[in-house]
């Protein structure tokens, strides 16, 4: 056994600012070999930035990094890698045109004729395949990465990092696109790595999963360390208080909505093999959850209902009117809205002002006499900014400058402004910190109370259990169960969701 107090990494007094904005302010952090250090904090606290400094992507303005007591200077990712520090980045960082094996060994290909830089492809594939098998990931090393599901890509990214890690491995929200099944595999690996004496820094907003693996924790708030200590020394409430700097009442606030008539009804929706024969309805005042494992087809389904993706057959009825023309503009006109899973790709126009992003789905409302009235736009945006508590409240600031949670809130604002009354929310809290999450939940409740129909797609089962009235479960494109949220459990949902092994 390794000595568990063997300090593998020390980051001392790290400060960093981006064009005048201080993001990190004198952060000191220690990671021990054979231990998992949980790094937690609100959105925008500086976690990823700190880790990117460690991996050589960013250079600190001041401070130093010590590996095994030795002071090192990383001017680029290659330096950190050769010092044995590997990182799983928050945004996937793989090349979709390359194969799985090529990605795993990118930058460190085994060579055959070294002076020519000639790559030994046989070795490359054999080694990758056996690694994947060792880790229990069922992925063919020769598959082109672009063909893998988001979850599988995440697993490749994990494999890649583990192979590279010699001393320390950083995982920045590695589970954000994984479901419980894969999370378990990952945790098994992490325990393995601990045994091999690696230090692990683990970032996550899913506090409950940290219980399983974390040994110590460091809490960041506004770029400063506000707490460091053993995991479990303080209660979750206290932890959240440190993170948010204030008291948080309940994560899942109660809702008192009366359930009314059917607002959204879908019948026999098909686009095989993504989803087949899907029928369900959502009523006014109701919050329905849609659960399933990664790749179950939930995202495909809601995007098809919204008209952003094709549908092979089936009917979609909004407020009693059948939609026959599947284009997103038709859906929006009829009061349907989709909060997409990936806010960077399909959500926000990052370099446009916050106000323009909020009003985008209903610019029509701002136009009178053919002229887009800017004053009206600012007023409307300000109202929603206040209502949703978007920070900072500046409508003319590009939305890309906001932190993740606030970006998510501004997307929600867009659909509120669109005067929608049917909401499809796909992973509405992905990557959002606890405090911001509870604000979003509160908002969803208000919507339901005002008579809207809400469908929440989420991989976070506690969230579904806490928010939904009913929970639909999808497995491999089929609706396999409808459960009453008050009477079901995570285990029951998983039993339906899990793909039976063949």
């Amino acid at each position: 056994m390794m000595d568990s107090l063997n300090t593998a990494l020390e980051m001392r007094d790290i400060s960093k600012s981006f064009s005048g904005n201080t993001v990190l302010d004198g952060v000191t952090l220690t990671a021990h070999a054979g231990e998992v250090l949980a790094l937690v904090g609100e959105n925008g606290a500086g976690k990823s930035t700190l880790m990117k400094i460690l991996s050589g992507v960013h250079q600190p303005d001041s401070g130093e990094i010590l590996i095994d007591g030795q002071k090192l200077n990383f001017s680029r990712p290659g330096d950190a890698l050769s010092a044995g520090i590997a990182m799983i980045y928050q945004e996937l960082s793989l090349a979709p045109h390359l194969t799985v094996a090529e990605n795993i060994f990118l930058g460190r290909e085994p060579l055959r004729v070294a002076p020519l830089g000639m790559i030994n492809d046989n070795d490359l594939y054999q080694r990758s395949q056996s690694l994947l098998e060792d880790y229990g990931f069922r992925i063919n090393a020769k598959t082109r990465l672009g063909r893998l599901s988001a979850a599988d890509r995440q697993l490749v990214e994990i494999t890649r990092a583990i192979v590279e890690a010699k001393r320390l491995i950083v995982m920045d929200e590695p589970t954000s696109s994984l479901t419980s099944h894969e999370v378990e595999e990952l945790f098994r690996l992490i325990k393995d790595l601990k045994k091999r004496g690696l230090a692990i820094i683990y970032i996550s907003h899913r506090l409950e999963e940290l219980d399983d693996i974390a040994d110590r924790m460091t809490i960041l708030r506004d770029g400063k360390v506000v707490y460091s200590g053993k995991w479990g020394e303080i209660s979750t409430d206290e932890l959240i208080r440190h993170m948010a700097g204030r008291e948080l009442k309940e994560i899942f606030p109660p809702r008192k909505a009366s359930i009314g008539g059917v607002k959204l009804k879908v019948e026999n929706l098909c686009r095989s093999p993504k989803f087949e024969k899907i029928s369900f309805e959502v009523r006014a005042g109701e919050v329905v959850g849609l659960a399933g494992l990664a790749g179950a087809g939930r995202t495909e389904l809601v995007e098809a209902i919204f008209g952003a993706q094709p549908l092979e057959s089936g009917r979609v009825v909004l407020n009693g009117v059948e939609v026959d023309h599947f284009e997103t503009n038709q859906s929006v006109k009829r009061g349907l809205s989709l909060l997409t899973e990936d806010r960077k790709r399909t959500g926000l126009c990052l370099n446009l002002p916050l106000a323009a992003n909020i009003t985008l789905a209903n610019v029509r409302a701002l136009v009178s006499g053919g002229v887009l009235r800017k004053r009206k736009e600012t007023a409307a945006a300000n109202e929603l900014i206040n209502k949703l508590g978007i920070r900072p409240p500046s409508p003319s600031k590009p939305v890309g400058r906001l932190s993740g949670g606030n970006q998510q809130k501004s997307l929600l604002g867009r659909w509120l402004f669109a005067k929608s009354d049917i909401f499809l929310l796909d992973e509405p809290t992905r990557g959002v910190d606890v405090a911001a999450r509870s604000e979003i939940y509160r908002k969803i409740n208000e919507l339901a109370e005002s008579g809207a129909a809400v469908l929440i797609v989420s991989s976070d089962l506690p969230e579904l259990l806490g928010m939904a009235d009913r929970i639909l479960v999808m497995r491999r494109g089929h609706l396999v169960a409808e459960l009453n949220a008050g009477q079901t459990t995570q285990e029951e949902i998983l039993k339906y969701a899990a793909v039976e092994e063949s």
Binding site: A308, T340, T346, L350, V371, R401
Partner: protein
Amino acid sequence: MPDWIKRFLPFISLILLCALIPLCEYFVLGQDPKFLTLGNLAAIARQTAVITIMAMGMTMVMVAGGIDLSVGSIVGLAGVVGALSMTHGSSVFTGILIFIAVGAACGLINGAAISSLRIPPFIVTLGAMGIYRGLGLYISDGNAIVGLPQGFGYFTEKSFFGFIPLPLLIVLAIALIVHFALGSTRLGRYCYAMGSNIEAARYAGILVSRYQITYYTILGALSGLAGAIESARTVTGQPNAGEGYELNVIAAVVIGGGSLSGGQGTVVGTIIGSLIMGVLANGGNLLQISPFIQKIVIGAVIVLAVTFDEFQRRTFESKEA
């Protein structure tokens, strides 16, 4: 106040240039400066009108994240067809409408191909560039169309109040309209949204394809109008007219702060970009600088302008990322 400098950088360069040229005329050539005479300014207006008009449309297309390499060929094709219509008896007015209609049709085809085939605009319009040019040459059998009504020439030579050339008024009118459209209409708002993130625009319920087609059609129509002015200037329909203009037009947008990746660009910036290039060429001729050196200077100006711009953008994005 870097944002301030950024916004005015092209403008400042233009002013500096306009001051520098007469100084050189006086001190280097030892002549009376002719650059700032009304006659020369009117000449610059006429010389840059064609590029500026096309660049107005290109601003829209590029803000929306697209690009159109075929505009120069559209000038040629519209020139040939419009000129032929006039030699076949249509009036000057009808003729000009035909120029515009041919341009709009080409733009419509580009836009429809881009949005339906879903292939990159660079490719579609690279192909279209050859197709339209070939068509123009084929229709005219490679000859200039001559024998146009004399009144057509007046279309560009006419001046108001003795010194404001008609093309300048046309440019101003179009600039005002496009400026208004980009800044204060849905058409313009969607332009920026699509250029910033086209998927996001689609998911926000914008019928992306329809707007794409609209922007390319507007650019096509403006290129057709530019073709009319080009034709009127030489009172012929030259099948080779507009060759290479696409790069000048794109350069004007880019010097004016437009971005190839979309979401950025303004009418005022583009006009300044076009003027900078026009003034460089005119000043080069007045100062008797070799056209070869002029090529080098314009190339360098493009790179420098975008370097400044990108530098500004990076400091901004590093805040955002």
